[in-house]
């Protein structure tokens, strides 16, 4: 029996954490993720979990404490946003290269300059090369489901990599919506105990974590880390299949919506995918063959599967809620277009930078992108591939 409830995205993640009952949670508050450690510290105070909650003095320290505790053999969670994730940046690499499966709830928020507390994806996109698994979530339900699955993927003995589970700040983190929770015991049994093969507090098998690595071995260690990341796709699908058994909800590497017979398609991350689904239903009712591919796993990037899913599309708009300042398009665009390059028949592909700093995205905005794609299909020309949606001139 699933438990029908209504929760904000932050509360949903905090409850996933409570159900799993990690050993350690170091955290420093930052909008809009603050509620996660806030709720969790209440669970600690109420004795609902036996986690050691470590209030630290910065996000750099939060991630450092995560590394220390996970290295010691303790299951460790944290949460952050925006500048907080940026301040962790140095330590993110230490966590992943030390093969420490920390799970982090990232509540996506714009990075400062100008100061802004609202949603876009510039924070987690800035961490995309840090060796962390990245899983994105459309709504509170997916944030909850993905967090539970991420712990199991990260801790798999063939993976042993940290994972961040992302959702849109405010748009889903602070929106109360319906959700179906899984019973505590089922979540606990699904995730299981954290049993690392090697850990610092194991007197029978002493190890060092984080020593200097010379040129004789560094590249081999990096290759091992990359091989673990390559393996994530397979494990993520295994974990998703198991998760479906306890939840009835199906997850893949990505989600497609009305994509099979579509002529034009959007590739989108997080909450705007829901808005796009409403726009698609409206356009489909008018006879337009439009579809959507919603990214779930961004790291690793499932390039063969995405190329296969998009190969029949005539024109694609890749939607980036992050300005990568490459002067050629955002980071998702670079990934998707690169994935399509190996196809013999390549769809025409353009990029839209949209929704930066919390700029609201309406169904009519999405409809305007499909309309632009129609123009591209009719003319046979992609035109300028680096575009902005809804920016005032």
């Amino acid at each position: 029996m699933t438990i029908r409830d209504r929760l904000s995205g932050n509360e949903a993640v905090a409850i996933a954490m409570k159900q799993i009952n990690p050993d350690v949670m170091p955290a420093f508050p930052i909008t809009p993720s603050t509620e996660i450690p806030q709720y969790f510290s209440q669970y600690v105070a109420n004795g609902e979990v036996d986690t050691v909650f470590i209030p630290v003095e910065s996000e750099h320290s939060a991630m450092s404490a995560c590394i220390g505790s996970e290295g010691a053999g303790a299951r460790t969670f944290t949460a952050t946003s925006s500048c907080g994730l940026a301040l962790m940046h140095e330590m993110l690499y230490v966590a992943s290269s030390s093969r420490l499966p920390i799970t982090l709830a990232c509540v996506n928020r714009a990075l400062t300059g100008p100061i802004n507390i609202n949603n876009d994806h510039s924070d987690s996109m800035g961490s995309r090369d840090a060796g962390w698994i990245q899983i994105y979530s459309e709504n509170n339900q997916e944030a909850y489901d993905n967090f539970i699955q991420a712990v199991k993927i990260a801790e798999h003995k063939d993976i042993m990599l940290p994972a961040m589970v992302c959702q849109d700040g405010f748009i889903t983190s602070h929106a109360v919506e319906n959700i179906e929770l899984i019973e505590d015991a089922k979540v606990k049994a699904f995730v299981g105990e954290y049993e690392p093969e090697d850990f610092l507090l194991n007197p029978n098998s002493p190890i060092a974590i984080g020593p200097y690595d010379t040129a004789s071995f560094y590249i081999e260690h990096k290759r091992q880390q990359a091989e673990a990341m390559i393996k994530v796709k397979e494990i993520a699908l295994e974990v998703a299949a198991e998760f479906e058994k306890i939840s009835g909800r199906k997850y893949g590497l990505f989600e497609t919506y009305e994509l099979e017979d579509a002529d034009t398609a959007l590739v989108i991350i997080n909450s705007t995918a829901g808005t796009a689904k409403d726009a698609i239903d409206k356009l489909r009712a008018e006879g337009k063959k439009v579809g959507l591919l919603k990214i779930r796993l961004f790291r690793p990037f499932p390039r063969e599967e995405i190329a296969e899913a998009l190969k029949h599309i005539k024109a694609i708009a890749v939607m980036d809620k992050c300005e990568g300042f490459s002067a050629a398009g955002g980071p998702l665009f670079a990934e998707v277009r690169s994935a399509l390059y190996d196809l013999n028949e390549k769809p025409m592909t353009v990029n839209y930078i949209y929704g930066l700093g919390g700029r609201d995205v309406r169904t009519t905005d999405i409809e305007s992108v499909y309309s632009d794609l129609d123009t591209i299909v009719e003319s046979g020309k992609a035109g300028d591939t680096y575009r902005y949606l809804g920016v005032r001139e």
Partner: protein, 192 residues
Amino acid sequence: MSKLTEIRWHGRGGQGAKTASLLLADAAFNTGQYVQGFPEYGPERMGAPITAYNRISDTKIRVHSNIYEPDFVVVVDETLLASIDVTAGLKKSGAIIINTPKTPDEVRKYLNGYEGSICTIDAVSISEKTLGKNFPNTPMLGAVVKVSGIMDPEQFLEDMKASFAHKFATKPQVIEGNVAALKMAMQEVKGI
């Protein structure tokens, strides 16, 4: 065809318009519906105009944008009428519900010729009578339920009694006042 009701709340930071939108989401959730309750965040500060939203539907809600063409608008602080275009996009088939001691005719002039229903409720006085303090949220919630018809008023009252009993478990003395505030608001809202 799904039945979707969209509501926009206007208030000032600290008055609890966000909380009211979450309470309404809770109440609608308890009647088995799909709900969204969310605030629009700006540079938060006490007294600044804020907006919050509700979507209530009999089918799953996927859209994640603000609400531009609401069915109902709720104004928790009447001083906003002079500075905010509260009826922007409001459907003619809907209604605006304003916290004011004035009558609907007296506030009409602030509403840019809005042709739909104008409802007023003296939430301050109801709150002071029933709760002894100015907490306009509870009476506003009662007025919205009455005007919008999004749920059965009797069932709503029963649900809210249970909800207050849970929420105020450590302050049982305020439960009765809150229930009285809801009932009085549902009786006294003008302009339906």
